[in-house]
Symmetry: C2
Subunit: 267 residues, 2 copies
Amino acid sequence: MIEQSRAWKREKMRIGLVPTMGYLHRGHVSLIEALRPHVDQLVVSVYVNPLQFGPNEDLARYPRDPDGDAKRCADAGTDVLLMPEDLYPSGFSTSVSVHGVTERLCGAFRPGHFEGVATVVCRLFGVSGCEVAIFGEKDWQQLQVIRRMTRDLALPVEIVGGPLVRDADGLALSSRNAYLSPDERQRALSLSRALYAMIEAVNGGELDAARLVERGRAILQVDRLDYLEVVHPETLEPVARIDGPARALVAGHVGRTRLIDNMALPG
Amino acid sequence: MIEQSRAWKREKMRIGLVPTMGYLHRGHVSLIEALRPHVDQLVVSVYVNPLQFGPNEDLARYPRDPDGDAKRCADAGTDVLLMPEDLYPSGFSTSVSVHGVTERLCGAFRPGHFEGVATVVCRLFGVSGCEVAIFGEKDWQQLQVIRRMTRDLALPVEIVGGPLVRDADGLALSSRNAYLSPDERQRALSLSRALYAMIEAVNGGELDAARLVERGRAILQVDRLDYLEVVHPETLEPVARIDGPARALVAGHVGRTRLIDNMALPG
């Protein structure tokens, strides 16, 4: 892949990357379709990156469907499906860390997660030789981490965010939704409902972040809440009052499944 | 610089980088001259990178000579002299770490040093858009750290090592030699003398690393020795017996000045 991408660059081809962990759904497909018209070579990577999983997380049972992924990629117009057994060379010993935007929200509940993300994404940029890469806004904090890393290291990659895709009932698409029992799925809907309720409350004139969070919490039916917060969309610092750009982010466990969701609040 | 280098790359120009901390001497000039014939745009960076200095090190008094540096760069055929007041954007919060090759030798005596080096070099690669970069073999461990980082992150940069340059009396050229009093300079010569003596001993049939180190130590006239070791040139792991590639590395303090040197042992 490294040799191939270097050759394409010599031929002045524009390479685009869609990094994924596989088990592709319509959210991923929307990212591929969004990038497709803008690049000459479209690379989709499917790699369940062990570096970004904690010791008690779901690395071993993370859902996989290589044949289905290959079909979805082909149908959406992928040029290269990069599906390595191992992405790291023998003796791999480099890591990329981003401070600040990684310390709160998911970073507080998943120590080492964003270091694993930054490291794999940095390497995938290098391997694919991409000039542009697209990431789903479902993983909002991840998108900010990658934007920060790319700016800080002056990596020659344009970062694009792709809109979150939902099922008809409002559930944010996630490969992890495959874990949910029918009852759990009903309760999982409370994440998006809580966020919609917060938007409605802002539209109704409620601008106090603490009271908005209270409104959302009353709706949540998770077994364990990691966080429900109103933050600045880029710095991810808490916002006390909605008087500028703000986003509500939520993470919680339904059964054994950890789910996240987020929405922009009206500004 | 970022915009300029991106434009050069669109024009298919080959960009080369010589990263330095300034106060340029013949060693730096030899790197510029070695790279010059191979690139279309030659960038020399002069930046005393605070990230790679410990709290009790010589950041504040590190020697500077911007006018002399500019002249030396121009004379050696530099296209761009990148001499920023600050290299990092506001809110910079990313770091690159290399494990393994950074833990021993200078890494053990300068905690955080190689993280600072890896981070600045990664950013300089991005800013300059270089396809090739040259580093002096004087900083042998640094060269291995950068090779490892570049391979691990699949950075699109070829790493070249440039031979160490010595004064006629054998002293390895270093900007820090400017700190030395005449007496200190005499004692500083013991570093290269110790290494030469070790080479001679190998040629005389001594293949035991511990005895070679003993031989070198007897010659050293430093005020404090950080290390004198025989290691594998790439992994930097200690070598017990000279039966393959091996290199002797030394670091010690003469007065307030920390000096390093290294030589390949005959194999």
